[in-house]
């Protein structure tokens, strides 16, 4: 079964559901490890820096967003790691997944921004198309 699962998270409702599915998949194999990956989006950097007092507050607000996800994984006693990456979410997740040779990528079908999705296409779609391992898109 899958030993190394990449779980793409952004703190949204969809990524919380994706977390649940990742936990199910992880429960199938002994010693499975989930790596929750959060991409700090380049195109939102200006907004986020402008709307936070300083570095520490920004860091804290990002961690806070992911706390429900962490709590969920912790409650099931599954080994996990939280990784912050920077760039454009789709390509960054693809590159990381391929480079670190994950066995499975789990991702929510939709992120926080439906308008951007309409204009740019969804991150999950891009990821599914270009990642080399199986991808689970959670509705």
């Amino acid at each position: 079964m899958y030993q190394k699962i990449l779980l793409a998270v952004d703190g949204s409702e969809h990524s919380l559901r994706a977390t649940n599915e990742a936990i199910v998949m992880a429960g199938l194999a002994e010693g499975c490890m989930i790596e929750a990956v959060y991409v700090v989006d380049f195109s939102k950097a200006k907004d986020q820096v402008l709307h936070s007092m300083d570095k520490e507050e920004l860091e804290l607000s990002r961690r806070k967003k992911l706390m429900p996800i962490e709590a969920q994984i912790q409650s099931k006693n599954i080994a996990y790691k939280l990784t912050f990456l920077r760039g454009e979410p789709g390509p960054v997740i693809v590159e990381y997944a391929n480079k670190e040779s994950f066995d499975l990528v789990v991702i929510g079908s939709r992120g926080l921004n439906s308008l951007q999705e309409m204009v740019l296409g969804s991150v999950s779609h891009k990821v599914a198309k270009r990642v080399k391992c199986p991808v689970l898109i959670v509705k």
Binding site: V40, A45, E88, L120
Partner: protein, 487 residues
């Protein structure tokens, strides 16, 4: 040291050079447009962008950040150029640099944390609005063809990036539409109508101004405003680059670097500049991380002007205006509308006030200063509410004080007591309060003495150690013959 130079310059050579080229292409229209805003020849902005980018590559504190001629600075210098001309602008640029070096040496950047985010959001928004307003004369009511060219430019810059990512869309718009306008002989105003392009490197010159106190009086107010606004935008930009790259940078050496760049820039005929948010984001997105990207941007920009100067003057103004409309839309903080609804009333008010003052005065520094003062006033009024709760216990009375006791809150504090009690034991508990200054101690004296007049026995308790030290030093109610005038 060698290790650091290697990392900051040569750890990312290929991507840095490519990103620098992309930035240079995106810089040219902005440098020209900002020169036009300032009311000087396009060369002044182009020389500035070349000088600043090249120098900051060596002396800046934030590798990968792009500095050049900017809109925020250009807007500040308009009246100076109009009244006194280019040479005074160059002198003001040099003085701006000197002030920024002083800011860097004395670590003034630390004071930036006193600028609330409401003011920073207001700053960014008013900058966007002013850049947009500066474009209006270049397309409004000129000709139908002008509107068509602005429209096509906007379509290109917003749609093309969905398909072509390697070449900046504004460049595609410029090349395509300039060719079309040359071949069709379209009747449009061009960059050449607003100033000449010299195909030569900048040379050293000393601004032709009288070296007198009179000159200093003229340029100093502009220089100080330029220094503050330049530092503000540079530090905001460096925070954004820090966040995008997940690395730290030295804010004080950035301030000093901006100063050095502006001093040299002024001697080579460039207008004052600072870091640019938009261009820095483009640089990082294109893969630029090191100092080499900034250097390449500056050098390649100058190379293009020397080689292609003849063509640059033929760029139609409506195309430039269209690109600048895109820049202003990108600069505006669209999350502000949400902020106005969600943020505390007073913060929203500070943000709006900053924008309104800048738009009314066309001076970013005035808006920032007014915004900072306004939020300081709001802050003081917020923390100056003090609560005094009265508990009657048998014949004794206990007052519990909660809040900050200082000059702005003493009135509320004294008013909270009723002085009707006679011959009782009164306890005032300061466990949840803090005493800040002489006026606060004076107010305590006033209350205590007033009660003592009516034969009450007053006890003060619960002072924290800092408050107690202040009260012990300044209070007079324990003296045998106290007089309130001592405060």
């Amino acid at each position: 040291m060698v290790e650091k130079i290697k990392r900051e310059w040569f750890s990312n050579v290929r991507a840095d050079v490519l990103a620098g080229i992309v930035v240079a292409l995106a810089l040219i229209p902005e440098a020209i447009a900002f020169s036009i805003i300032a009311g000087v020849d396009p060369m002044v902005g182009l020389y500035a962008s070349f000088c600043i980018a090249v120098i900051i590559a060596f002396v800046g504190g934030r590798p990968g950040m792009i500095s050049a001629a900017t809109g925020a600075m250009a807007l500040l210098m308009v009246p100076l150029v109009k009244e006194y001309g280019l040479n005074y602008l160059l002198a003001a640029t040099i003085l701006t640099g000197i002030i920024q070096v002083i800011f860097g040496v004395f670590k003034i950047a630390r004071l930036m944390k006193f600028i609330p985010r409401a003011v920073m959001i207001g700053f960014v928004n008013s900058l966007a609005i002013l850049i947009f307003m500066a474009q209006v004369p270049h397309f409004l009511g000129i000709s139908a063809l002008t509107y068509v060219f602005v429209g096509i430019t906007l379509l290109i810059v917003y749609i093309v990036p969905r398909f072509i990512k390697s070449v900046p869309a504004p460049l595609i718009a410029i090349v395509l539409l300039t060719i079309i306008s040359i071949y069709t002989g379209a009747d449009l105003r061009t960059v050449g109508d607003l100033g000449a392009i010299k195909q030569s490197l900048p040379s050293f010159l000393i601004p032709d101004v009288p070296f007198s106190l009179e000159t200093l009086k003229i340029i100093f107010p502009y220089s100080i405003a330029l220094a503050i606004v330049g530092l503000l935008e540079s530090l905001l930009t460096s925070s954004i680059v820090d966040d995008m790259t997940g690395t730290d940078s030295n804010k004080h050496s950035e301030s000093r670097g901006q100063g050095i760049a502006n001093i040299i820039n002024g001697f080579f005929g460039g207008m004052a500049g600072c870091a640019m948010i938009g261009q820095s984001v483009i640089n990082v997105k294109s893969g630029g991380r090191g100092r080499l990207s900034t250097l390449t941007a500056g050098l390649f920009l100058m190379f293009l002007i020397i080689v292609l100067g003849d063509l640059v003057v033929q760029i139609p103004m409506p195309v430039l205006a269209g690109i600048m409309i895109m820049v202003s839309i990108g600069t505006f903080d669209w999350a502000s509308f949400q902020y106005l609804v969600k943020a505390p009333r007073t913060d929203a008010l500070v943000m709006l006030a900053t924008v309104l003052i800048v738009v009314a005065t066309h001076d970013l520094s005035k808006g920032v200063i007014a915004g900072v003062i306004l939020s300081a006033v709001f802050f003081v009024s917020k923390i100056s509410t003090i609560k005094v709760q009265k508990h009657a216990q048998n014949s004794n009375i206990l007052f519990e004080v909660e809040g900050q006791l200082f000059f702005a809150s003493v009135e509320g504090f004294v008013d909270a007591f009723d002085f009707t009690a006679q011959s009782t034991d009164i306890v005032i508990d300061f466990a949840n309060a803090h005493i800040w200054d002489d006026s606060a101690v004076g107010a305590i004296d006033k209350v205590v003495l007033k009660y003592q007049e009516n034969n009450n026995n007053v006890t003060i308790k619960g002072l924290n150690s800092a408050s107690k030290r202040l009260v012990d030093k300044l209070a007079i109610y324990k003296q045998s013959n106290p007089k309130l005038s001592a405060h």
